[in-house]
Symmetry: C2
């Protein structure tokens, strides 16, 4: 095995924590670097398998054979090799540095951030769409992506997102479903216009809504909108064509965690609509 | 205004970051200190109002008048004063240190951790109980507490908890509902025995369950059990008298975030049972 500086083909080992590729990878933890490069970092084998499976462009990967333990990790590596991705062998110390040591599964990849423009989103007939406005916490965003995946939503739109959707913490909290979701980011104005143009009914989660979600018809072409952790939905979601709905709040608090509320609403819509015919 | 060292009654200002009370308060961020003292720290005005409203013993509080902005914060202070709690006036720098500067609302309190022994938990007829086993992340625990509060659960039992329930991050993520919940911690064995003794049917969330939760009767005296983020429920929850249920998983992932799953199941039970008569 030769050192990375040899420049020739074949297996090459990166041993230095100061290697420029390592430093560039670590820098992708910062939003500025992701915005500048259009790249993000994927650690977690399942996350990586899902990114590759969804056709995400992988720029390069870092693998530490000594840490590759799980079947998921071997599957991730196999997927990379099949895609002819440049894979750098690295030492455990280098991998720990890139993966932040938190959940090092032996493989980390740098991928191109997918295009999330609203114009690219295509809906099937009778779609079920989720909209989350100004959600801030990567953990909440990741959990919402998992719920959208599980409940079989046809699209998820992040209106005025306060965190970048491919933040490594979102990738992780979403278990990689951020790559497989039909996902868009747009302004609230664009989102509302887009939903109306397509004839979707819009229901909006509001704590003061007169109607319970479970007593509201959630069938047909539908969008379900939820607001941020602190502020809820912005005033434009009170338009006359938007149906406010609420969940029972039987205790002392007046709201749920936004990811919990999203899960309940997405699954209530799914329950009413029945399971899709596949 | 006199210095805290004067020792006499009346308004006293703590100005030093090295004041022993300040140091003791900051130390309550660590589990060891909470376990040793039986105390925890509450920052956040709404959280404090809920703790006081639930009859939690407040040992002392720290207030910075200059930072007291919200109505919630004034209400918290009024509740403390009514309870004849020793309130120390502090400088903004001292309050920031105690409150970790994250959401300083001008008031932080040291409270006695409530007794969470299972023996103290009393159930109404036809109870709805949540059980979460080995849940680890304070954010998930807090969100689950909010969902249990909202869905009107009669009790929540943390089986084999991996985080202490009155961790300041749980208090915060729960918006203080950790104080108002009928909450117990116990081993899984004790929990199962306790539920069976009381004649509760037990349903357990399992990804491989044959039956959907929405097609399962969730009425009557019932416990709904969910497992940890990584491992799910332990094998004892596969006993013949436990009914496994699942949610539809229509995407690529095989599970939801545990707090999302708890919210969907608690609210599905609530939907089936109807709103309680008050």
């Amino acid at each position: 095995m030769r050192d990375a500086s040899s420049g020739s083909s074949g297996p090459v080992m990166i041993t230095s924590l100061h290697n420029p590729r390592v430093i560039a990878a670590v820098r992708l933890r910062e939003r500025r670097s992701r915005d500048e490069t259009g790249l993000t970092i994927v650690d977690g084998a399942r996350e990586l398998v899902r990114a590759v499976g969804a056709g995400t462009t992988v720029e390069e990967a870092f693998v530490c054979e000594a840490l590759l333990r799980s079947d998921d990790a071997r599957a991730a590596l196999a997927a990379l090799e099949q895609g002819r991705v440049r894979v750098w062998q690295v030492t455990p110390a280098v991998l720990d540095k890139i993966a932040f040591g938190e959940r090092a599964e032996g493989v980390v990849a740098i991928v191109r951030i997918p295009d999330t423009s609203l114009g690219r989103l295509h809906l099937p007939p009778h779609p079920l769409v989720g909209v989350i406005e100004a959600v801030e916490k990567p953990g909440n965003l990741g959990a919402i992506l998992r719920s959208a995946d599980g409940a079989g939503l046809d699209a998820l739109i992040a209106a005025e997102p306060r965190t970048d959707l491919f933040n490594p913490n979102v990738i992780r909290a979403s278990l990689g479903t951020v790559f497989t979701a039909r996902l868009a980011a747009a302004s609230t104005t664009e989102t509302l216009a887009w939903l109306r143009d397509r004839g979707l009914r819009i229901v909006a989660a509001r704590v003061d809504a007169p109607q319970l979600a479970s007593e509201t018809d959630l069938g047909g072409p539908l969008a379900i909108a939820l607001g941020s952790e602190v502020e809820g939905l912005s005033p434009v979601w009170s338009a006359p064509d938007v149906v406010p709905v609420r969940l029972p709040m039987l205790g002392v608090a007046d709201s749920l965690n936004v990811a919990a509320a999203a899960a309940v609403l997405f699954y209530e819509a799914r329950r009413q609509r029945g399971l899709p015919v596949r």
